[in-house]
Amino acid sequence: MTRSRRLSEHARTVLCALLDAREAWSHGYELSRLTGVKPGTLYPLLIRLEASGYLVAEWQQLAKVGRPPRHAYRLTASGVLLARENPPAAASGGAEFGQDALA
């Protein structure tokens, strides 16, 4: 039996934001503000996306002196595919979404 790949609305929203960023790197706080997804939901989601190979995470040294390196995120090729196949509800005409397949 094939497991259906149905993502939660939060997962779709975050994937959409990462897809919009294209090749640019995104950060946790920025993603949370941009998508409205609370950090308590965002970080477990990012962990699952990275563990599943949809996301690549990297430490980046900032140009500003005195700032610590920052963890940055970008979709992998499979992550881009996943994001395109799973747009947020608003973008796909309000379809219903079930459980987070990455949970």
Binding site: T41, P68, H71
Partner: protein, 397 residues
């Protein structure tokens, strides 16, 4: 709230998250710390980190439980001693492992007795839930132990304050105030915290830890709790046999005074079914039920016997551990006090697991790494040390 305080609190929460996180999540905890450094508003940074902590906590707790179970199952060693879950097995020492196995066996025997005695299913479920919760806490505490070592005695003192708060504000039954009520649960804080405090005191003594023991003695006198005051005296007496320094003398005097106070105060609590006097009443059901209860209680002393095979630190700590739990069991024999672990109640189960945290990491005879500096100076060099050891064996068994 001052902005600086919010930022400091956010940093502390990050440190806590990092400390309790398993290896695979630790990088994300660091990511969170770097992220809040880039959030200009302190309040927003605090909200961000507290929200993240809440979101990650279930995953961390689940992983801690998994790592504990893997460690119990023998955990696959990779990368120089780490398990696949990023959990170093040697931190989960042989003594603790023996203790957890003994505890699980004792709980199983207790459940068998309770099922035979017709206890409500909720009672059995609660004991099992306490085991799971205790194992989760054990995993988290072992991860936090490097931080706790930076403030020796602070944990003991904090636990003593909880004991005192229980005496002053806790729920009272027939004149005894020993419980904190948490929803439907009656939590006996002395069973939770006192054993670990005593065993930790056996290994690390400073002013804060000694004050903690004195406050705990005061709390037990106020409650009053004759059984736990007796356990405190028993543990400290065995410790005094090894080393009667100023800290131990003060603590033992406080404990003895508290025990005397509890003896003078009336203790009119009647026996609670499935909790107290079961070491005898179990035989009314079937001799096997009685045997299960006694065997279960005896299993709690196995780490003390196992520790006797180890180095000086392990022997001393195991002797104190054994004397404390033996005193608690004996109290259940002679009075209306809870029979630990085999009877209904989660406080003793979690308390036993917490107590295991205070056992030494290494029991190897050659090991020096876990022996406290204070004890290194005196162990095995005192006149009559072997006689003291012999007395401790008696106390253990």
């Amino acid at each position: 709230m001052r902005p600086g305080f919010q930022r400091a609190l956010a940093d502390r929460l990050c440190s806590l998250l990092h400390a309790i996180s398993p290896k695979e999540i630790r990088g994300w905890a660091e990511a969170l710390r770097s992220e809040i450094a880039n959030i200009p508003h302190d309040g927003e940074a605090l909200r961000f980190v507290s929200g993240s902590l809440c979101g990650l906590l279930p995953r961390i707790l689940l992983t801690n439980l998994q790592t504990t179970i893997i460690a119990l199952a023998g955990g696959e060693h990779i990368d120089g001693g780490s398990t696949a879950m990023g959990f170093s097995l040697h931190r989960f020492s042989q003594l603790r492992l023996v203790g957890v196995i003994s505890l699980i066996a004792a709980i199983g025997l207790g459940l068998a007795y309770m099922a035979a005695a017709g206890a409500p299913a909720a009672y059995l479920t609660l004991n099992l839930a306490a085991l799971v919760l205790g194992l989760v806490m054990l995993g988290a505490i072992l991860r936090l132990s490097p931080i706790a070592r930076q403030w020796p005695g602070l944990g003991s003192f904090a636990m003593a304050i909880v004991l005192l708060a229980t005496s002053l504000f806790g729920s009272a039954v027939e004149g005894a105030a020993r419980w904190f009520v948490l929803g439907p649960l009656f939590i006996q804080t002395s069973l939770l915290f006192l054993p670990v405090m005593i065993v930790a005191f056996a290994r690390t003594r400073n002013r804060l830890a000694t004050s903690g023991i004195c406050v705990a003695a005061l709390a037990l006198a106020l409650q009053p709790d004759r059984a736990m005051a007796g356990a405190l005296v028993a543990g400290l007496t065995v410790l005094a046999m090894y080393r009667l320094d100023r800290a131990v003398s003060v603590a033992l005097a406080s404990a003895a005074l508290a025990f005397l106070v509890t003896l003078t105060r009336p203790d009119a609590l009647s026996a609670v079914p499935f909790v107290e006097q079961i070491l005898f009443s179990a035989f009314d059901i079937h001799w096997l039920a009685g045997a299960a209860v006694w065997l279960g209680a005896a299993l709690l002393l196995v780490p003390a016997i196992a520790g006797w095979q180890g180095n000086a630190d392990a022997r001393k700590t195991a002797a104190v551990f054994g004397s404390v739990w033996l005193a608690i069991i004996l109290a259940a024999v002679v009075g209306n006090y809870p029979t630990p672990v085999v009877g209904y109640g989660g406080s003793a189960i979690i308390g036993y697991l917490l107590c295991l945290c205070a056992l030494p990491t290494s029991v190897e005879r050659q090991s020096q790494t876990d022996t406290s500096l204070a004890d290194r100076k005196v162990r095995d060099h005192r006149p009559g040390a072997s006689r003291m050891r012999a007395l401790s064996i008696v106390a253990c068994l």
